[in-house]
């Protein structure tokens, strides 16, 4: 079974036999992989009916839940790792989600697109309009992405909230990392995968 490239990276950071909560788990690919290959007990939260059905068809535990509602139903420290891929920019309160992730889990793994990437800067700088690209294909008035940030913004938030960054992997759209993007991540990195704790 081949795994999406970012999920491939994430699964390396997850301990075998651990408990994983995946916020916005999509069709459950990551949890399915972790269940079969890492003996992980996992649960996904998802809102899209087709995605939920796909999870059920894979035998992945899935809870219908809007991430913008509170996550009070999950007890403190009840999971080892809480994962959220490509959803931070789409939730109403990214800071609250981050707090919740670290309340529920020992560690959190997040991925999100970098609005500080040079192409975004160039688009905004030269055209004076919100960037639209193949990677971020939405118009400003009709987009699920309501809270774009740059890597620097995210790291500042982590610093303010005393969140420790354990790992950061900066990659391009196809989730490959390069020497250059490692050197100037906020300018050259398109997607970041962070592993954080408190």
């Amino acid at each position: 079974m081949t795994l999406r490239a970012d999920l491939q990276i994430i699964q390396n950071w997850i301990q075998p036999g651990s408990r994983v909560l995946d916020l916005g788990c999509g069709e459950g690919e990551l949890l399915h992989y972790l269940q079969d290959n890492r003996q992980v007990r996992g649960y996904g939260l998802e809102i899209d009916p087709d995605n939920i059905n796909a999870c059920i068809g894979k035998g992945v535990n899935v809870i219908e839940k809007d991430l913008d509602q509170d996550l009070d139903n999950f007890e403190d420290h009840s999971f080892d790792t809480v994962v959220m891929t490509q959803a931070l920019q789409a939730v109403h309160y990214p800071d609250r989600i981050l707090e919740d992730m670290l309340r529920i889990g020992r560690e959190a793994i997040l991925t999100f697109p970098n609005f500080g990437h040079w192409r975004c800067r160039l688009y905004l700088g030269t055209k004076g309009r919100m960037p639209v690209s193949e990677f971020m294909p939405y118009t400003w008035y009709n987009t699920p992405n309501i809270h774009f940030c740059t890597f620097k913004d995210f790291e500042k938030l982590c610093h303010e909230r005393s969140v420790r960054i354990l790992d950061r992997l900066v990659v391009d759209q196809t989730h490959r990392s390069s020497m250059l993007s490692a050197m100037w991540p906020n300018l050259l990195g398109e997607v970041a995968i962070y592993r954080v704790t408190r």
Binding site: R19, R41, Y43, P49, I52, N53, C55, I56, G57, K58, G59, N61, V62, I63, E64, K65, N73, F74, E75, S78
Partner: protein, 380 residues
């Protein structure tokens, strides 16, 4: 050739399981002997690993799928979900559906003959609760040679039975499917049940439950009880869409006695029809069983603690406009399963039909149930 649809289990006939071993009941009494009437659909496989138990709700019974005769107009109550290629696929599963003890469709109940007196039990029939039903169902499983159900499935009061199976017989089921249900009724639920019971008990024809001895039935009371119940099974929206403020005639009559609004006519019909086919004592017993069920009670109201023995994987489904068993109640159950660190999936289906939705072929619901059931492993 049969005239039944290709995805129907076709002609089915009820079977009987007679037990002469006394069954101890939660109320402290026991049933010295009893009969359970049940139906089966599909074939039990050689390893006996493909059996699915269907638990019925308040007014349900053993006839869940197929037809009893060639001229039967209506199939069983859950024919939408049980049959070849359907969500509960009888090509894969051996499906068992029974009429619970205390019922009025053939299993031992208040209208059966008490062997000790030779007369109808009537008001002397012992109180039967969810725990007792599950114990009697376990005996039926023994009789059928089913050590472990692939799944126990139920909606509403049936969902409580599925949950009780998972708690009390953890090694006898692999999956628990609890639909439009709750681990306990709310005060509002109990209040509605009490109104229904008072309607029956205060009917002059009730005679303390011994109406059979008087050759009457408390039809008015039972009809009223059903009318109240029926209101709670439908959502405000569903009633609005179905009836609105439509009148039966063009003019208002300005009197009390005539049936003017369509919704009045509908409720009266439902009440009357029900009172002719259902037993009042059974209705009382079923509503009490609903009220009593609360597995967390013995664990300091900690549902997660009550669920500690569970090993089955669970699927919990609720419907958005169900106010009898609201989504919040199902979420409580799903959250407690999460807190108890059990495998659970939870779905909240957008449906306008209220509590009744669990019996209806709502595409997303059926699809999710199919996906879940198809995932359950069974030997060929």
């Amino acid at each position: 050739m049969s005239r039944f649809p290709a995805d129907s289990v076709g002609l089915v006939s009820p079977q009987r399981h007679i037990s002469t071993e006394p069954l101890a009941l939660a109320c402290g009494r026991s049933l010295p002997q009893y009969e359970l009437v049940y139906e089966t659909y599909g074939q039990l496989n050689a390893s006996r690993s493909n059996a699915v138990l269907i638990c019925h709700a308040l007014s349900g019974h053993h006839h869940a799928a197929g037809y009893h005769s060639e001229d039967d107009r209506k199939p069983g109550w859950w024919d939408a979900c049980i049959g070849p290629g359907k969500a509960i696929d009888t090509n894969r599963f051996f499906v068992v559906s029974l009429n619970n003890l205390g019922g009025c469709h053939g299993s031992t109940g208040p209208s059966s003959i008490d062997p000790e007196t030779g007369k109808t039990y009537g008001g002397r029939f012992p109180m039967i609760v969810v725990e007792d039903w599950v114990n009697s169902q376990a005996r039926l499983a023994d009789h059928l040679g089913v050590q472990c159900w692939a799944a126990v499935v139920g909606g509403s009061l049936g969902g409580m039975q599925a949950l009780q199976w998972a708690i009390h017989y953890p090694d006898r089921l692999r999956h628990c499917v609890a639909i439009a249900t709750a681990s306990k009724l709310s005060a509002q639920n109990i209040a509605f049940n009490e109104v229904a019971r008072q309607a029956i008990i205060t009917d002059p024809d009730f005679h303390g439950g011994d109406y059979a001895a008087f050759g009457v039935i408390p039809k008015r009371g039972l009809g009223l009880a059903r009318m109240v119940g029926h209101i709670t099974y439908l959502s405000d929206d569903a009633m609005g869409q179905k009836f609105g403020r439509e009148l039966r005639s063009e003019r208002l009559n300005y009197d009390i006695s005539s049936v003017e609004f369509q919704v009045e006519s509908y409720l009266r019909y439902q009440g009357q029809e029900f009172s002719e086919r259902f037993d009042a004592n059974t209705y009382l017993l079923m509503t009490k069983a609903l009220d009593y069920y609360d597995p967390a009670r013995a664990h300091g109201d900690d549902l997660a603690k009550a669920l500690a023995p569970v090993t089955a994987r669970s699927l919990v489904i609720s419907f958005s406009t169900d106010w009898r068993f609201a989504p919040a109640r199902s979420r409580e159950l799903a959250n407690a399963l999460l807190a108890a660190r059990k495998d659970v999936s939870y779905l909240e289906i957008d449906a306008a039909q209220g509590h009744d939705a669990f019996l209806l072929p709502i595409p997303r619901y059926i699809q999710a149930l199919s996906s879940y059931m198809n995932r359950i492993e069974v030997d060929a």
